[in-house]
């Protein structure tokens, strides 16, 4: 890797000095923080993703999508004639390591732009760094709504939605599909996302449908493999609705153990992240379960803006990786498309000249770019407006896993916290007729 790093002028002496110190062949010298305006020979993109640990169920598909899309961009000649090269870093070791990696990407690898990250903690830690080191950063997958509600950033924007619309969409769907439910139980992973998503759901539910009884709140350990206690309690409590925002191995295990003990027959399940588990759990997951995928992400989207684009992406991804694309691949595609659109906008604004870091960062504010299924707009606060798709599972002969029917695509602007407001305050002001105003469900078409 060290061999093909391009050194900025004037940094060779540093490298020589470092070599003399014995840090040796791997030492990578970097340019200082200054905005380059000359067209680079290649465009380096630092990509933070999980390559190890439980979240690699999202991280590895994300990386695969990036590899595929970068190859496609390069096959078309790159962005404004500049080839792109991804440099992946692993989020697995935790925040303090990632903060060091972020600095390495900027100061040593000298990347032009960074896609960061899956973990909300990593995003919270690196957005202030983006401003400090003045390097454009796209938050590609992390969910926490805190980032742009608590502060404003110049160099970081988010190319996707956040936890609030993702959870609110599922709630609205349930309120319409099962308006008379009286009790609910929650089984969420015991970490920030599990807690945050339940707080969002509970706040919105208490506003839109006051009086629903919370039968039980379970927060099993993150990475739990045994849910027999929870399933036994849920069988006894018989709540009308069971919500779980779990994902990955936790969700797969919970689905399998619930199916085995026929819990699905007693309660309506709501799983806002289960789109990413469909292929793994297969038809163990019965029909009639309400499923989402953190955005309007699904290969069978009922009304994609550019059906050919979605079909081509799905087909190419399946051919290359022998698996169906899931939502992190869509999120990665959005970051890649946003990067391309951002560069093109900045280059156009400069009359064909190559933009500086600051000019590129400015171009992302207010940018509109295509996603695989629609269009995403980055608001003035840096938050992306992303539609949300929620559906109900159905079994068909065509696929070995459940697919979605009765799909509702929620418009991002209706369900995203307005600029300058905090999610939990805004959710308390929702009007009870909101579920009635949602778009009509679209059935599955084979």
């Amino acid at each position: 890797m060290a061999g093909d790093v391009r050194f900025a002028p004037g940094s060779l002496t540093r490298r020589a000095a470092l070599g003399a110190l014995g840090v040796g062949s791997l030492a990578l010298a970097g340019r200082s923080v200054q905005a380059q305006a000359a067209k680079p020979s290649e465009l380096k993109v630092g990509i933070a993703t999980y390559l190890s640990g439980p979240a690699s169920v999202f991280g590895v598909p994300g990386r695969q999508a990036a590899e595929m899309l970068f190859d496609e961009i390069n096959a078309e000649g790159g962005i404004a004639g500049v080839k792109v090269r991804p440099i992946f870093v692993d989020e697995g070791p935790g925040v303090d390591h990632f903060v060091g990696e972020y600095r390495r990407l900027v100061q040593s690898e000298n990347v032009n732009i960074i896609f960061s990250a899956i973990s909300s903690a990593d995003c919270l830690a690196c957005t202030p760094l983006a401003d400090e080191l003045k390097r454009p950063t796209l938050l590609w997958d992390c969910g926490t709504q805190r980032i742009f509600e608590d502060a404003r950033y110049q160099y970081a924007v988010r190319t996707q939605g956040n936890a609030t619309p993702e959870v609110l969409a599922a709630l609205l769907y349930v309120l319409r599909a099962k308006p008379d439910f009286r009790s609910i139980a929650v089984v969420n992973q015991d970490y920030a996302w599990g807690r945050d998503s339940w707080a969002i759901w509970k706040t919105a539910m208490d506003t839109l449908k006051p009086g629903v009884r919370v039968a039980a709140e379970f927060f099993p350990r993150f990475g739990a493999t045994d849910f027999s206690t929870e399933v036994t309690r849920l069988l006894a409590l018989r709540p009308d609705v069971i919500l779980t925002t779990s994902w990955g191995g936790d969700l797969d295990a919970f689905i399998r153990q619930s199916a085995e003990r026929r819990l699905f027959e007693r309660s309506t399940f709501v799983m806002p992240l289960a789109e990413s588990s469909l292929e793994r759990v297969g038809k163990t997951l019965p029909a009639g379960v309400i499923v989402g995928g953190r955005g309007d992400h699904w290969f069978g989207h009922p009304s994609p803006k550019d059906p050919a684009l979605l079909a081509r992406f799905t087909e190419n991804y399946r051919k290359r990786f022998s698996t169906w694309p899931i939502y992190p691949t869509h999120h990665m595609a959005q970051a890649v498309f946003a990067m391309k659109a951002g560069y093109e906008k900045a280059i156009k604004a400069k009359g064909g000249g190559w933009p500086t870091d600051a000019e590129l960062a400015a171009a992302f504010q207010g940018l509109e770019f295509p996603s695989l299924t629609g269009t995403i707009k980055i608001r003035e606060d840096g938050q992306g407006l992303e539609d949300q798709l929620i559906g109900t599972t159905v079994h068909t002969d065509k696929y070995p896993f459940p697919v979605l029917t009765d799909m509702v695509v929620f418009k991002a602007a209706d369900i995203t916290t307005p600029v300058g407001q905090k999610s939990l305050d805004w959710l308390k002001t929702l009007s009870p007729d909101m579920p009635g105003k949602m778009p009509a469900p679209v059935p599955y078409r084979g």
Binding site: R14, S32, D96, E101
Partner: protein, 319 residues
């Protein structure tokens, strides 16, 4: 001052100068080096316990405790020179209370009890979600140094300087401590604890003193980590973080106060470069390095360096 002590002092100052030089030449390494020194300070405490033959698998507790103390205090009191003593005090106080119990146990029981307590703290950080934001962690505001607000660049340098000063101070202290009767008693505990008791020296108190000192050092390391990353998460208290400290102690070698710092630099640089080289197999490289050290250099990096110097005929100065 003996010739050997003088030599070690010169070596320590030279090492500090090299760290500053590397940080100046390679800006992005400054962050990694600061973290390495912070961990080295924490491992210095573990070294004291290792002298007594006790391995703590839970010292991340004190690192995290101080880091969170700093994170909670920083919005009201963003002063590095107050946060450091605060973190050390909190860790030391908790270390004293916990120490009263754990010094009754030895070896695996000592290690496991420490592990259990650190995991309890980890769970507390996760469960008290409204206070701690759980795994999302808490962000620290910009820290002042002696009342002056610094830019990000200067603050990075200031933290590194504070870390180096603390490392030199604690290093010198531990070296003196190990040669003092209290320190010698630690080695005696490892050899035969009963004999120590026969001599009228209470082994538990000897271990308790070392334990509290180690908690204080881990606390200082924790505050430096918090001031450097400026974002604390419960992962700091997770058992893998404790394991990391023991890993560093083994990698560096327990023979000298230089060991923990050699180990910490070795560990952090290996991890950083391994991650840069192969993003998805860096754990394997780290594992191979540790296996190599265990199999071929039981004295750690320090032991390797010393035996290399001894073998050299002209190396009399280092003997």
């Amino acid at each position: 001052m003996s010739r050997r002590a003088l030599l070690e002092l010169v070596a320590a100052l030279a090492a500090a100068a090299i760290v500053l030089l590397v940080a100046a030449l390679v800006p992005w390494l400054r962050f990694v080096l600061t973290i390495a020194i912070a961990k080295g300070i924490a491992v210095l405490g573990i070294l004291l316990l290792l002298r007594a033959g006790q391995v703590s698998f839970g010292h991340a507790l004190y690192v995290a405790l101080a880091a969170y103390a700093a994170a909670f205090a920083a919005p009201r009191m963003p002063e590095a020179l107050l946060l450091l003593p605060l973190g050390a005090l909190v860790s030391g106080a908790v270390g004293l209370v916990v120490g009263l119990f754990v010094v009754r146990y030895r070896e695996i029981f000592f290690g496991m009890l420490n592990l259990a307590l650190s995991m309890v703290f980890y769970s507390v950080l996760e469960k008290f979600y409204a206070l701690t934001h759980g795994t999302d962690g808490i962000r620290l505001p910009a820290i002042r140094y002696v009342g002056t607000a610094l830019g990000p660049e200067e603050a990075g340098w200031a933290t590194l300087a504070v870390a180096i000063l603390l490392a030199l101070g604690f290093g010198a202290f531990v070296r003196v401590y190990l040669l003092s009767p209290m320190g010698e008693a630690l080695s005696a505990m490892k050899t035969r604890e009963t004999r120590l008791e026969f001599m009228g020296i209470p082994a538990r108190r000897v271990l308790l003193a070392a334990y509290v000192l180690s908690a204080v050092m881990a606390g200082c390391g924790g505050v430096i980590i918090a001031m450097t990353t400026r974002h604390v998460t419960p992962a700091l208290a997770y058992w893998t973080a404790s394991g990391e400290l023991v890993f560093i102690a083994i990698l560096g070698g327990a023979g000298s106060v230089f060991g923990p710092f050699l180990g910490a630099f070795g560990y952090e640089l290996t991890r950083t470069y391994a991650a840069a080289l192969v993003a998805d197999a860096w754990q394997m490289i780290l594992g191979i390095v540790l296996l190599g050290v265990i199999l071929f250099a039981p004295g750690g990096l320090w032991g390797m360096g010393r035996s290399a110097l001894r073998r050299r005929p002209a190396g009399e100065g280092a003997a």
